[in-house]
Amino acid sequence: MSTPPGILTIQQPLPLAFVRGEAVHQRPDDLYIPPDALEVMLDAFEGPLDFLLYLIRKHKFDIVDLPVNEITLQYMEYIDLMQGLNFELAAEYLVMAAMLAEIKSRLLLPKHTQHDDDEHDPRAELIRRLQEYEIYKQAASELDSLPRDERDYFTARAALADNFSPLVILPEVELSELVMALKSIMQRAKDFQHHHIKREHLSTRERMSRILDLLQQRQGYLLFEDCFEYSEGREGVVVSFLAILELTKEKMVELTQVEAYGQIHVKLALEQS
Protein backbone atom coordinates (compact mmCIF):
# COMPACT_ATOMS: atom_id res chain seq x y z
CA MET A 1 0.00 0.00 0.00
CA SER A 2 1.87 3.04 -1.20
CA THR A 3 -0.85 5.47 -0.32
CA PRO A 4 -0.34 6.93 3.12
CA PRO A 5 -3.09 5.82 5.51
CA GLY A 6 -3.52 9.42 6.57
CA ILE A 7 -5.26 10.16 3.36
CA LEU A 8 -8.56 9.02 4.76
CA THR A 9 -8.58 11.81 7.23
CA ILE A 10 -8.03 14.45 4.62
CA GLN A 11 -11.47 14.06 3.14
CA GLN A 12 -12.51 17.56 4.01
CA PRO A 13 -14.99 19.87 2.34
CA LEU A 14 -11.99 21.43 0.64
CA PRO A 15 -9.54 18.58 0.43
CA LEU A 16 -6.24 18.75 -1.25
CA ALA A 17 -5.56 16.81 -4.31
CA PHE A 18 -3.10 13.94 -4.26
CA VAL A 19 -1.09 13.29 -7.35
CA ARG A 20 0.70 9.95 -7.34
CA GLY A 21 0.69 9.88 -3.59
CA GLU A 22 1.98 13.36 -3.21
CA ALA A 23 -0.21 15.96 -1.68
CA VAL A 24 -0.76 18.96 -3.86
CA HIS A 25 -1.51 21.97 -1.78
CA GLN A 26 -2.51 24.19 -4.58
CA ARG A 27 -5.03 23.28 -7.15
CA PRO A 28 -3.44 23.18 -10.60
CA ASP A 29 -4.60 26.18 -12.58
CA ASP A 30 -5.87 24.13 -15.47
CA LEU A 31 -8.08 22.16 -13.16
CA TYR A 32 -9.58 25.00 -11.27
CA ILE A 33 -13.19 25.47 -12.13
CA PRO A 34 -15.15 28.31 -10.56
CA PRO A 35 -18.11 26.84 -8.65
CA ASP A 36 -20.69 28.69 -10.74
CA ALA A 37 -19.13 27.18 -13.85
CA LEU A 38 -19.42 23.69 -12.48
CA GLU A 39 -22.86 23.03 -13.77
CA VAL A 40 -21.95 24.28 -17.19
CA MET A 41 -18.83 22.16 -17.05
CA LEU A 42 -20.77 19.09 -16.10
CA ASP A 43 -23.00 19.62 -19.11
CA ALA A 44 -19.91 19.49 -21.29
CA PHE A 45 -19.24 15.93 -20.19
CA GLU A 46 -20.95 12.93 -21.58
CA GLY A 47 -21.21 11.32 -18.14
CA PRO A 48 -19.03 10.20 -15.24
CA LEU A 49 -16.67 8.16 -17.42
CA ASP A 50 -16.03 11.19 -19.58
CA PHE A 51 -15.56 13.36 -16.51
CA LEU A 52 -13.16 10.83 -14.95
CA LEU A 53 -11.19 10.68 -18.19
CA TYR A 54 -10.93 14.45 -18.09
CA LEU A 55 -9.55 14.36 -14.54
CA ILE A 56 -7.13 11.57 -15.44
CA ARG A 57 -5.88 13.37 -18.55
CA LYS A 58 -5.47 16.64 -16.67
CA HIS A 59 -3.30 14.87 -14.13
CA LYS A 60 -1.48 13.02 -16.87
CA PHE A 61 -2.26 9.80 -15.04
CA ASP A 62 -1.77 6.52 -16.81
CA ILE A 63 -5.09 4.73 -16.95
CA VAL A 64 -3.48 1.32 -16.64
CA ASP A 65 -1.68 2.45 -13.52
CA LEU A 66 -4.65 4.37 -12.22
CA PRO A 67 -4.11 5.79 -8.72
CA VAL A 68 -7.64 5.27 -7.57
CA ASN A 69 -7.27 7.20 -4.36
CA GLU A 70 -6.23 10.41 -5.98
CA ILE A 71 -8.76 10.30 -8.74
CA THR A 72 -11.48 9.32 -6.33
CA LEU A 73 -10.68 12.28 -4.14
CA GLN A 74 -10.79 14.64 -7.09
CA TYR A 75 -14.03 13.19 -8.28
CA MET A 76 -15.63 13.27 -4.83
CA GLU A 77 -14.52 16.83 -4.37
CA TYR A 78 -16.42 17.99 -7.39
CA ILE A 79 -19.42 15.87 -6.62
CA ASP A 80 -19.56 17.21 -3.05
CA LEU A 81 -19.17 20.72 -4.31
CA MET A 82 -21.96 20.33 -6.79
CA GLN A 83 -24.24 18.72 -4.25
CA GLY A 84 -23.40 21.51 -1.85
CA LEU A 85 -24.47 23.99 -4.47
CA ASN A 86 -27.69 22.06 -4.97
CA PHE A 87 -26.94 21.20 -8.55
CA GLU A 88 -28.99 18.47 -9.98
CA LEU A 89 -26.60 15.65 -10.46
CA ALA A 90 -27.39 12.91 -12.89
CA ALA A 91 -27.74 9.59 -11.11
CA GLU A 92 -24.82 8.18 -13.09
CA TYR A 93 -22.41 10.56 -11.34
CA LEU A 94 -23.52 9.34 -7.93
CA VAL A 95 -23.33 5.72 -9.01
CA MET A 96 -19.78 6.35 -10.14
CA ALA A 97 -18.99 8.06 -6.84
CA ALA A 98 -20.25 5.00 -4.99
CA MET A 99 -18.26 2.70 -7.22
CA LEU A 100 -15.08 4.71 -6.67
CA ALA A 101 -15.62 4.73 -2.93
CA GLU A 102 -16.07 0.99 -2.97
CA ILE A 103 -12.93 0.40 -5.00
CA LYS A 104 -10.99 2.68 -2.71
CA SER A 105 -12.17 0.97 0.43
CA ARG A 106 -11.30 -2.43 -0.97
CA LEU A 107 -7.84 -1.22 -1.87
CA LEU A 108 -7.37 0.12 1.60
CA LEU A 109 -8.26 -3.15 3.27
CA PRO A 110 -5.15 -5.03 4.26
CA LYS A 111 -4.47 -8.03 2.09
CA HIS A 112 -4.08 -11.34 3.86
CA THR A 113 -2.05 -13.00 1.19
CA GLN A 114 0.01 -11.67 -1.65
CA HIS A 115 -2.33 -13.23 -4.20
CA ASP A 116 -5.86 -13.86 -3.08
CA ASP A 117 -6.97 -16.76 -5.24
CA ASP A 118 -9.32 -15.22 -7.66
CA GLU A 119 -9.56 -11.76 -6.32
CA HIS A 120 -9.07 -9.30 -9.10
CA ASP A 121 -7.71 -5.88 -8.75
CA PRO A 122 -10.87 -3.97 -7.93
CA ARG A 123 -9.67 -1.27 -10.29
CA ALA A 124 -9.67 -3.63 -13.24
CA GLU A 125 -13.32 -3.19 -14.14
CA LEU A 126 -13.12 0.59 -13.87
CA ILE A 127 -9.97 0.67 -15.97
CA ARG A 128 -11.56 -1.56 -18.58
CA ARG A 129 -14.59 0.70 -18.75
CA LEU A 130 -12.53 3.86 -18.94
CA GLN A 131 -10.42 2.45 -21.73
CA GLU A 132 -13.37 1.17 -23.69
CA TYR A 133 -15.17 4.45 -23.29
CA GLU A 134 -12.11 6.37 -24.42
CA ILE A 135 -11.87 4.24 -27.56
CA TYR A 136 -15.41 5.06 -28.59
CA LYS A 137 -15.10 8.65 -27.53
CA GLN A 138 -12.22 8.95 -29.92
CA ALA A 139 -13.99 6.92 -32.60
CA ALA A 140 -16.90 9.36 -32.35
CA SER A 141 -14.61 12.29 -32.87
CA GLU A 142 -13.01 10.58 -35.88
CA LEU A 143 -16.44 9.85 -37.26
CA ASP A 144 -17.28 13.51 -36.82
CA SER A 145 -14.19 14.48 -38.79
CA LEU A 146 -15.08 12.28 -41.76
CA PRO A 147 -16.16 14.41 -44.69
CA ARG A 148 -19.91 14.23 -44.73
CA ASP A 149 -22.94 15.23 -46.64
CA GLU A 150 -24.44 18.68 -45.99
CA ARG A 151 -21.27 19.86 -44.28
CA ASP A 152 -18.25 18.96 -46.38
CA TYR A 153 -20.00 18.36 -49.64
CA PHE A 154 -23.42 18.71 -51.15
CA THR A 155 -25.22 16.51 -53.59
CA ALA A 156 -24.97 17.89 -57.13
CA ARG A 157 -28.27 17.55 -58.93
CA ALA A 158 -29.81 18.68 -62.15
CA ALA A 159 -33.46 19.49 -62.74
CA LEU A 160 -35.48 17.50 -65.23
CA ALA A 161 -36.02 18.94 -68.68
CA ASP A 162 -39.28 20.85 -69.17
CA ASN A 163 -40.64 18.19 -71.51
CA PHE A 164 -40.27 15.48 -68.87
CA SER A 165 -43.43 13.60 -68.11
CA PRO A 166 -43.60 10.74 -65.67
CA LEU A 167 -44.04 7.20 -66.80
CA VAL A 168 -47.38 5.91 -65.63
CA ILE A 169 -47.71 2.18 -65.18
CA LEU A 170 -51.29 1.32 -66.05
CA PRO A 171 -53.15 -1.18 -63.92
CA GLU A 172 -53.03 -4.83 -64.85
CA VAL A 173 -56.31 -6.58 -65.59
CA GLU A 174 -56.81 -10.33 -65.71
CA LEU A 175 -59.20 -11.90 -68.16
CA SER A 176 -60.89 -13.56 -65.21
CA GLU A 177 -61.64 -10.11 -63.80
CA LEU A 178 -63.58 -9.30 -66.96
CA VAL A 179 -65.58 -12.49 -66.63
CA MET A 180 -66.23 -11.76 -62.95
CA ALA A 181 -67.34 -8.24 -63.85
CA LEU A 182 -69.79 -9.57 -66.39
CA LYS A 183 -71.13 -12.17 -63.98
CA SER A 184 -71.76 -9.52 -61.40
CA ILE A 185 -73.68 -7.46 -63.95
CA MET A 186 -75.72 -10.52 -64.81
CA GLN A 187 -76.61 -11.10 -61.20
CA ARG A 188 -77.79 -7.54 -60.89
CA ALA A 189 -79.63 -7.20 -64.18
CA LYS A 190 -82.72 -9.36 -64.10
CA ASP A 191 -83.37 -8.93 -67.78
CA PHE A 192 -79.89 -9.83 -68.76
CA GLN A 193 -81.13 -13.05 -70.32
CA HIS A 194 -82.13 -10.94 -73.28
CA HIS A 195 -78.51 -10.24 -73.93
CA HIS A 196 -77.40 -13.60 -75.00
CA ILE A 197 -73.71 -14.23 -75.27
CA LYS A 198 -71.93 -17.28 -76.49
CA ARG A 199 -68.93 -18.22 -78.55
CA GLU A 200 -70.37 -18.15 -82.06
CA HIS A 201 -72.25 -15.04 -81.22
CA LEU A 202 -69.09 -13.35 -80.00
CA SER A 203 -67.36 -13.84 -83.31
CA THR A 204 -70.38 -12.24 -84.95
CA ARG A 205 -70.21 -9.28 -82.59
CA GLU A 206 -66.51 -8.94 -83.30
CA ARG A 207 -67.15 -9.01 -87.06
CA MET A 208 -69.85 -6.37 -86.63
CA SER A 209 -67.26 -4.10 -84.99
CA ARG A 210 -64.81 -4.80 -87.79
CA ILE A 211 -67.27 -4.03 -90.57
CA LEU A 212 -68.29 -0.78 -88.87
CA ASP A 213 -64.64 0.12 -88.48
CA LEU A 214 -63.99 -0.61 -92.15
CA LEU A 215 -66.99 1.50 -93.15
CA GLN A 216 -65.57 4.42 -91.16
CA GLN A 217 -62.31 4.13 -93.01
CA ARG A 218 -64.03 3.98 -96.41
CA GLN A 219 -66.18 7.06 -95.90
CA GLY A 220 -69.24 4.95 -95.09
CA TYR A 221 -69.40 2.82 -98.22
CA LEU A 222 -68.36 -0.75 -98.86
CA LEU A 223 -69.02 -3.24 -101.54
CA PHE A 224 -70.90 -6.16 -100.05
CA GLU A 225 -68.19 -8.53 -101.24
CA ASP A 226 -65.48 -6.49 -99.49
CA CYS A 227 -67.04 -7.52 -96.19
CA PHE A 228 -65.83 -11.06 -96.71
CA GLU A 229 -62.38 -12.45 -96.16
CA TYR A 230 -62.44 -15.49 -98.41
CA SER A 231 -59.21 -16.73 -96.90
CA GLU A 232 -61.15 -17.37 -93.70
CA GLY A 233 -63.08 -20.05 -95.43
CA ARG A 234 -66.70 -21.04 -95.12
CA GLU A 235 -66.89 -20.31 -91.39
CA GLY A 236 -65.56 -16.79 -91.87
CA VAL A 237 -67.99 -16.04 -94.66
CA VAL A 238 -70.87 -17.22 -92.52
CA VAL A 239 -69.76 -15.04 -89.61
CA SER A 240 -69.42 -11.98 -91.87
CA PHE A 241 -72.82 -12.62 -93.36
CA LEU A 242 -74.41 -12.90 -89.92
CA ALA A 243 -72.66 -9.73 -88.85
CA ILE A 244 -74.10 -7.81 -91.80
CA LEU A 245 -77.58 -9.15 -91.10
CA GLU A 246 -77.27 -8.20 -87.45
CA LEU A 247 -75.98 -4.74 -88.31
CA THR A 248 -78.85 -4.25 -90.69
CA LYS A 249 -81.36 -5.46 -88.13
CA GLU A 250 -79.93 -3.11 -85.50
CA LYS A 251 -80.10 -0.32 -88.09
CA MET A 252 -76.40 0.35 -87.98
CA VAL A 253 -75.94 -0.21 -91.70
CA GLU A 254 -78.13 -0.21 -94.79
CA LEU A 255 -77.89 -2.55 -97.71
CA THR A 256 -78.69 -1.19 -101.13
CA GLN A 257 -78.88 -2.82 -104.54
CA VAL A 258 -79.59 -0.58 -107.48
CA GLU A 259 -80.64 -3.34 -109.86
CA ALA A 260 -81.34 -7.02 -109.69
CA TYR A 261 -78.13 -9.06 -109.48
CA GLY A 262 -76.18 -5.81 -109.37
CA GLN A 263 -73.57 -4.81 -106.79
CA ILE A 264 -74.82 -4.74 -103.22
CA HIS A 265 -73.54 -1.77 -101.26
CA VAL A 266 -73.13 -1.67 -97.53
CA LYS A 267 -73.29 1.82 -96.14
CA LEU A 268 -73.51 3.40 -92.74
CA ALA A 269 -77.10 4.13 -91.88
CA LEU A 270 -78.08 7.67 -92.76
CA GLU A 271 -78.70 10.05 -90.01
CA GLN A 272 -82.38 10.60 -89.52
CA SER A 273 -82.66 14.32 -89.69
Binding site: A156, L178, S184, I185, S209, K251
Partner: protein
Protein backbone atom coordinates in the same frame (compact mmCIF):
# COMPACT_ATOMS: atom_id res chain seq x y z
CA UNK B 1 -11.13 41.88 -46.91
CA UNK B 2 -12.28 40.63 -50.29
CA UNK B 3 -10.03 37.94 -51.68
CA UNK B 4 -8.82 37.11 -55.14
CA UNK B 5 -9.94 33.96 -56.87
CA UNK B 6 -8.47 32.51 -60.03
CA UNK B 7 -10.51 31.56 -63.08
CA UNK B 8 -10.42 27.82 -62.43
CA UNK B 9 -11.52 28.19 -58.81
CA UNK B 10 -14.22 30.65 -59.84
CA UNK B 11 -15.58 28.25 -62.44
CA UNK B 12 -15.55 25.33 -59.99
CA UNK B 13 -17.28 27.34 -57.31
CA UNK B 14 -20.05 28.68 -59.57
CA UNK B 15 -20.50 25.23 -61.12
CA UNK B 16 -20.75 23.54 -57.72
CA UNK B 17 -23.10 26.22 -56.38
CA UNK B 18 -25.56 25.88 -59.26
CA UNK B 19 -25.46 22.08 -58.92
CA UNK B 20 -25.90 22.16 -55.14
CA UNK B 21 -28.69 24.72 -55.06
CA UNK B 22 -32.25 23.46 -55.14
CA UNK B 23 -33.39 26.61 -56.93
CA UNK B 24 -31.95 28.35 -59.96
CA UNK B 25 -29.27 30.88 -58.96
CA UNK B 26 -29.01 34.39 -60.37
CA UNK B 27 -25.74 36.26 -60.72
CA UNK B 28 -26.80 38.49 -57.83
CA UNK B 29 -27.49 35.45 -55.65
CA UNK B 30 -24.10 33.97 -56.50
CA UNK B 31 -22.44 37.25 -55.54
CA UNK B 32 -24.33 37.43 -52.25
CA UNK B 33 -23.61 33.85 -51.22
CA UNK B 34 -20.75 31.70 -52.46
CA UNK B 35 -18.81 34.61 -53.96
CA UNK B 36 -19.29 37.02 -51.07
CA UNK B 37 -15.72 36.84 -49.84
CA UNK B 38 -14.22 37.36 -53.29
CA UNK B 39 -13.82 40.35 -55.55
CA UNK B 40 -15.46 39.22 -58.77
CA UNK B 41 -17.02 41.54 -61.33
CA UNK B 42 -20.37 40.75 -62.88
CA UNK B 43 -18.78 40.52 -66.31
CA UNK B 44 -16.33 37.92 -65.01
CA UNK B 45 -19.23 35.88 -63.64
CA UNK B 46 -21.02 36.20 -66.98
CA UNK B 47 -17.94 35.00 -68.81
CA UNK B 48 -17.60 32.06 -66.41
CA UNK B 49 -21.22 31.06 -67.00
CA UNK B 50 -20.68 31.22 -70.75
CA UNK B 51 -17.66 28.99 -70.30
CA UNK B 52 -19.78 26.52 -68.29
CA UNK B 53 -22.53 26.57 -70.91
CA UNK B 54 -19.91 25.71 -73.49
CA UNK B 55 -18.42 22.94 -71.30
CA UNK B 56 -21.84 21.31 -70.95
CA UNK B 57 -22.94 21.80 -74.56
CA UNK B 58 -22.45 18.14 -75.48
CA UNK B 59 -23.23 16.42 -72.21
CA UNK B 60 -26.30 14.71 -70.72
CA UNK B 61 -27.18 17.88 -68.87
CA UNK B 62 -27.01 21.51 -69.83
CA UNK B 63 -26.78 24.88 -68.14
CA UNK B 64 -29.93 26.84 -68.75
CA UNK B 65 -30.95 30.36 -67.88
CA UNK B 66 -34.49 30.63 -66.56
CA UNK B 67 -36.40 33.62 -65.27
CA UNK B 68 -34.99 33.19 -61.78
CA UNK B 69 -31.43 32.34 -62.74
CA UNK B 70 -29.19 29.53 -63.89
CA UNK B 71 -29.76 25.86 -63.37
CA UNK B 72 -28.58 22.59 -64.79
CA UNK B 73 -31.18 20.41 -66.36
CA UNK B 74 -31.28 17.17 -68.25
CA UNK B 75 -31.23 17.20 -72.02
CA UNK B 76 -34.84 17.06 -73.38
CA UNK B 77 -34.05 14.13 -75.71
CA UNK B 78 -33.35 11.96 -72.67
CA UNK B 79 -36.69 12.55 -70.96
CA UNK B 80 -38.35 9.36 -72.17
CA UNK B 81 -35.55 7.16 -70.89
CA UNK B 82 -35.22 9.12 -67.65
CA UNK B 83 -38.93 8.62 -67.01
CA UNK B 84 -38.03 4.97 -66.34
CA UNK B 85 -36.41 6.11 -63.10
CA UNK B 86 -39.70 7.04 -61.46
CA UNK B 87 -42.49 4.92 -62.84
CA UNK B 88 -45.80 5.86 -61.28
CA UNK B 89 -48.20 3.06 -60.62
CA UNK B 90 -51.74 4.18 -61.20
CA UNK B 91 -54.64 2.95 -59.13
CA UNK B 92 -56.45 -0.24 -60.06
CA UNK B 93 -59.48 0.06 -62.27
CA UNK B 94 -62.80 0.44 -60.54
CA UNK B 95 -65.55 -2.15 -60.87
CA UNK B 96 -67.44 0.30 -63.11
CA UNK B 97 -64.53 0.36 -65.56
CA UNK B 98 -64.21 -3.42 -65.59
CA UNK B 99 -67.93 -3.97 -66.04
CA UNK B 100 -68.08 -1.46 -68.88
CA UNK B 101 -65.14 -3.13 -70.57
CA UNK B 102 -66.68 -6.57 -70.10
CA UNK B 103 -69.95 -5.42 -71.65
CA UNK B 104 -68.20 -3.86 -74.63
CA UNK B 105 -66.13 -7.01 -75.08
CA UNK B 106 -69.08 -9.41 -74.99
CA UNK B 107 -71.78 -7.24 -76.52
CA UNK B 108 -70.00 -5.06 -79.07
CA UNK B 109 -70.70 -2.89 -80.84
CA UNK B 110 -72.93 -1.03 -78.43
CA UNK B 111 -73.64 2.49 -77.30
CA UNK B 112 -73.01 4.03 -73.95
CA UNK B 113 -76.78 4.15 -73.46
CA UNK B 114 -76.97 0.40 -73.94
CA UNK B 115 -74.19 -0.14 -71.42
CA UNK B 116 -76.08 2.05 -68.96
CA UNK B 117 -79.27 0.11 -69.60
CA UNK B 118 -77.64 -3.19 -68.68
CA UNK B 119 -75.57 -1.87 -65.75
CA UNK B 120 -78.52 0.11 -64.45
CA UNK B 121 -76.32 3.13 -63.72
CA UNK B 122 -74.86 6.03 -65.60
CA UNK B 123 -71.55 5.33 -67.28
CA UNK B 124 -69.38 8.42 -66.72
CA UNK B 125 -67.32 10.04 -69.45
CA UNK B 126 -64.35 9.34 -67.21
CA UNK B 127 -64.91 5.60 -67.52
CA UNK B 128 -65.14 5.76 -71.31
CA UNK B 129 -62.06 8.04 -71.37
CA UNK B 130 -60.06 5.48 -69.33
CA UNK B 131 -60.88 2.70 -71.77
CA UNK B 132 -60.34 4.85 -74.87
CA UNK B 133 -57.00 6.18 -73.54
CA UNK B 134 -55.83 2.69 -72.82
CA UNK B 135 -56.58 1.87 -76.44
CA UNK B 136 -58.78 -1.07 -75.47
CA UNK B 137 -61.99 0.28 -77.01
CA UNK B 138 -62.81 2.67 -79.80
CA UNK B 139 -65.82 4.15 -81.52
CA UNK B 140 -66.45 2.12 -84.67
CA UNK B 141 -69.62 3.86 -85.84
CA UNK B 142 -72.76 5.62 -84.80
CA UNK B 143 -76.13 4.21 -84.14
CA UNK B 144 -78.82 5.79 -86.28
CA UNK B 145 -81.05 6.84 -83.46
CA UNK B 146 -81.56 10.39 -82.21
CA UNK B 147 -78.27 11.83 -81.05
CA UNK B 148 -76.30 9.32 -83.18
CA UNK B 149 -74.50 7.82 -80.18
CA UNK B 150 -71.11 6.24 -80.78
CA UNK B 151 -70.88 2.50 -81.03
CA UNK B 152 -68.06 1.09 -78.93
CA UNK B 153 -66.04 -1.98 -79.79
CA UNK B 154 -62.86 -3.56 -78.53
CA UNK B 155 -59.60 -3.17 -80.44
CA UNK B 156 -56.65 -5.28 -81.48
CA UNK B 157 -54.78 -3.74 -78.53
CA UNK B 158 -57.42 -5.23 -76.25
CA UNK B 159 -57.02 -8.67 -77.80
CA UNK B 160 -53.21 -8.44 -77.60
CA UNK B 161 -53.28 -7.37 -73.98
CA UNK B 162 -55.44 -10.31 -72.96
CA UNK B 163 -53.59 -12.69 -75.22
CA UNK B 164 -56.61 -13.48 -77.36
CA UNK B 165 -56.57 -14.29 -81.06
CA UNK B 166 -60.16 -13.21 -81.45
CA UNK B 167 -63.18 -12.38 -79.34
CA UNK B 168 -64.38 -15.95 -79.63
CA UNK B 169 -61.42 -16.87 -77.42
CA UNK B 170 -63.06 -14.95 -74.56
CA UNK B 171 -64.07 -17.34 -71.80
CA UNK B 172 -67.64 -18.50 -72.27
CA UNK B 173 -70.05 -17.65 -69.52
CA UNK B 174 -71.46 -20.94 -68.25
CA UNK B 175 -74.72 -19.38 -67.13
CA UNK B 176 -75.49 -18.36 -70.66
CA UNK B 177 -74.90 -21.68 -72.26
CA UNK B 178 -77.59 -23.07 -70.01
CA UNK B 179 -80.10 -20.84 -71.72
CA UNK B 180 -82.07 -22.56 -74.37
CA UNK B 181 -81.26 -21.48 -77.85
CA UNK B 182 -84.78 -20.62 -78.90
CA UNK B 183 -85.10 -17.95 -76.25
CA UNK B 184 -83.32 -15.41 -78.28
CA UNK B 185 -83.81 -14.18 -81.81
CA UNK B 186 -80.13 -13.83 -82.55
CA UNK B 187 -79.52 -17.38 -81.55
CA UNK B 188 -82.33 -18.56 -83.74
CA UNK B 189 -80.67 -16.78 -86.59
CA UNK B 190 -77.35 -18.39 -85.82
CA UNK B 191 -79.05 -21.71 -85.57
CA UNK B 192 -80.56 -21.49 -89.00
CA UNK B 193 -77.26 -21.04 -90.62
CA UNK B 194 -75.52 -23.90 -88.90
Amino acid sequence: MAQKINDIQLLQLIEAAIFASEQALSVAELQASVLQRFTVSKSRIDATIRQLQHDYSARGIMLLETASGFRFQTRPELSDDLAQLWPERSARYSRAVLETLALIAYKQPLTRGEIEEVRGVTVSSQIMRTLLDRGWVKVVGHKEVPGRPGLYATTAVFLDYFGLKSLSDLPPLPEFTELTADLLPTVEMTGELH
